[in-house]
């Protein structure tokens, strides 16, 4: 008596799965009328988000961020450079975004993903226009030495909303960054200071103690999909491939609009939809801010 039942269950299950693969758009529409998504989320709901700080031991600052199964690992390595003539009191942040072949079936070795340099550029733009880091803080000796912060972000698993996760990991790594204690030696080179040196004081310390950056308004982002009159927040890779029109909004903690990015798409964005997306982003900013604060305070306790 058990067997036929089991096979029947299997067959209905197969049908749903086949339907999903053959008519993805119809499958989604059936869900959308019920105001729910196949993964059980409400339309406006983002996936669970976690931040783990200090994931990379050899870096001065690092963060592992997960939004659903989209995973990003960001790490900062500090190097010393000679500042430019135009801004002798400023350091520099070099941001690079990588999509290694492990993250998605689309990326193959030797053929880098097309979106990687674009996301890289958007991250640099976003972080510089939000003004979250005062580059003067990265100065060591005016005109002679300044920090160059290499911020590298690796996508370990790409399942939609790649930019959102990348930005969150970048800001989290910057909030975790500890600038090492250094001094300048006789040759004018910057060297790390160990504890014994502090006692000897043979060299003039340039940066006496390990310190953190004072971050001003932090930018957070939310990607939404526009499909007909529906707005789907924080899409998965499947949703992104089926419904093409995406809008990415970046707001900072003081509600300034840092970026409104809509690259084409068959659905046009009208003012009401734009305002709805901004409202969703405002909510998400609060959520992400508290997740980041929690991660930072957990680090302090340790």
């Amino acid at each position: 008596m058990v067997l036929p039942n089991a096979s029947e269950d299997l067959s209905t299950e197969m049908e749903v799965d086949a339907f999903r693969r053959l008519f993805p758009l119809r499958y989604y529409e059936c869900h959308l009328v019920e105001s729910i998504r196949p993964d059980g989320r409400a339309l406006a709901r983002a996936r669970d988000t976690t931040i783990a700080l200090g994931a990379v031991a050899s870096a001065s600052g690092s963060a592992l961020v997960k939004i659903g199964s989209t995973t990003m690992l960001a790490a900062i390595k500090m190097e010393v450079m000679t500042p430019t003539m135009e801004s002798p009191d400023e350091g520099c942040i070099a941001i690079d975004f990588h999509m290694p072949p492990i993250c998605s079936p689309i990326v193959r070795p030797g053929r880098p993903a097309e979106v990687a340099p674009v996301v890289s550029k958007q991250l640099s733009d976003t972080i510089s226009s939000s003004g979250m880091v005062d580059l003067k803080e990265l100065s060591l000796v005016s005109g002679k030495a300044a920090w160059m912060a290499f911020l590298d972000i690796y996508c370990l698993d790409a399942d939609g909303a790649v930019f959102d996760a990348a930005l969150l990991s970048a800001t989290a790594a910057l909030s975790h960054l500890q600038i090492p204690a250094v001094s300048m030696n006789d040759d004018g080179k910057i060297v790390l200071m160990s504890e014994e040196d502090g006692e000897r004081l043979a060299q003039e310390p340039v940066n006496k103690e390990k310190r953190k950056l004072a971050l001003r308004s932090i930018p957070f982002s939310l990607t939404c999909i526009l499909y007909k009159n529906y707005i789907l927040a924080d899409p998965t890779a499947e949703e992104e491939s089926i419904m093409e029109t995406q809008v990415t909004i970046v707001l900072d903690s003081s509600s300034q609009l840092i970026s409104f990015y809509k690259p084409g798409g068959s659905v046009l964005a009208y003012t009401p939809a734009i305002q709805d997306c901004v409202a969703l982003t405002r909510q998400r900013v609060k959520e992400l801010q508290s997740i980041l604060d929690e991660a930072n305070s957990a680090m302090e306790v340790e």
Binding site: S259, F260, L268
Partner: protein, 243 residues
């Protein structure tokens, strides 16, 4: 509204526009677009058979190649390519020639501000020249926000550097329909009020952005008119489409 512009324009005054089509012999379609000193050349080849890997073979695909004035292509150009590709794909009727690729080559002749919108306008005119089926035309415009919150349209390079933020917006060109019922409406807003593409740089308030949209829409009507006019003569020369 008391912002002085170096070239004496009013805040919502565009620079002189010019557009010429069919300037390249070998390309299937070509156009040049000039806004003040900014000039971009666009050439269209195709549709050619086959699409690249990771593209949907059930639809026509557009590939954009950006040629800067000098030097090599960097991240900025890659971003422009991506924005152009996505914007053009959304105005093309992509179900018409499935599994084909149309190449759009953008050559920057001179950059004096609002480069990306200029390139989008040029590409759109070149697509029409090549006879690629389009749903509608698109017009792109650059709106910049001054520290005072004033919106200046179509800034040149000098102005761009002084602004706190700017937005590149692409609007659809309203279809002039012969069908009864007039122009297309989506809800309460006319179709040409929706945005196809938006790219912003710099921080501004949300209200500033909405203000940009409003001013951009008003100016896009004028540009649509210009684009339509400059594309018209050749169409009326074609006997099958006359009248």
């Amino acid at each position: 509204m008391e912002v002085d512009r170096p070239d004496g324009r009013s805040p919502s005054q565009l620079r002189p526009l010019s557009c010429s089509r069919g300037i390249l012999n070998r390309a299937h379609g070509s156009a040049s677009w000039t806004q003040g000193e900014t000039k971009v050349l666009a050439a269209v080849y195709g549709p050619k058979a086959g699409t690249r890997k990771n593209e949907n073979p059930e639809k026509a695909c557009i590939e954009v190649i950006w040629k800067p004035k000098t030097g090599q292509i960097g991240k900025l150009e890659r971003e422009s390519e991506m924005v152009l590709k996505k914007s053009l794909e959304s105005i093309c009727i992509r179900s018409m020639y499935p599994n084909t690729t149309t190449s759009v080559i953008i050559q920057v002749v001179h950059d004096d501000g609002a480069l990306l919108p200029c390139a989008i306008n040029a590409a759109c005119a070149a697509l029409v020249d090549a006879g690629i089926p389009l749903k509608h035309l698109a017009v792109a415009i650059c709106c910049s926000v001054a520290d005072s919150g004033d919106v200046l349209l179509d800034p040149n390079k000098l102005e761009e550097e002084k602004m706190k933020a700017f937005a590149y917006l692409v609007f659809p060109n309203a279809c002039v329909s012969v069908l009864p019922g007039g122009s297309l409406q989506v809800g309460k807003e006319p179709m040409e009020h929706g945005i196809i593409t938006s790219v912003t740089h710099g921080a501004m308030s949300v209200d500033d952005y909405l203000h940009c949209l409003e001013r951009g829409r008003a100016a896009s009507a004028k540009m649509s008119e210009f684009l339509r006019r400059s594309l018209q003569p050749q169409l009326s020369a074609d006997p099958s489409k006359a009248g």
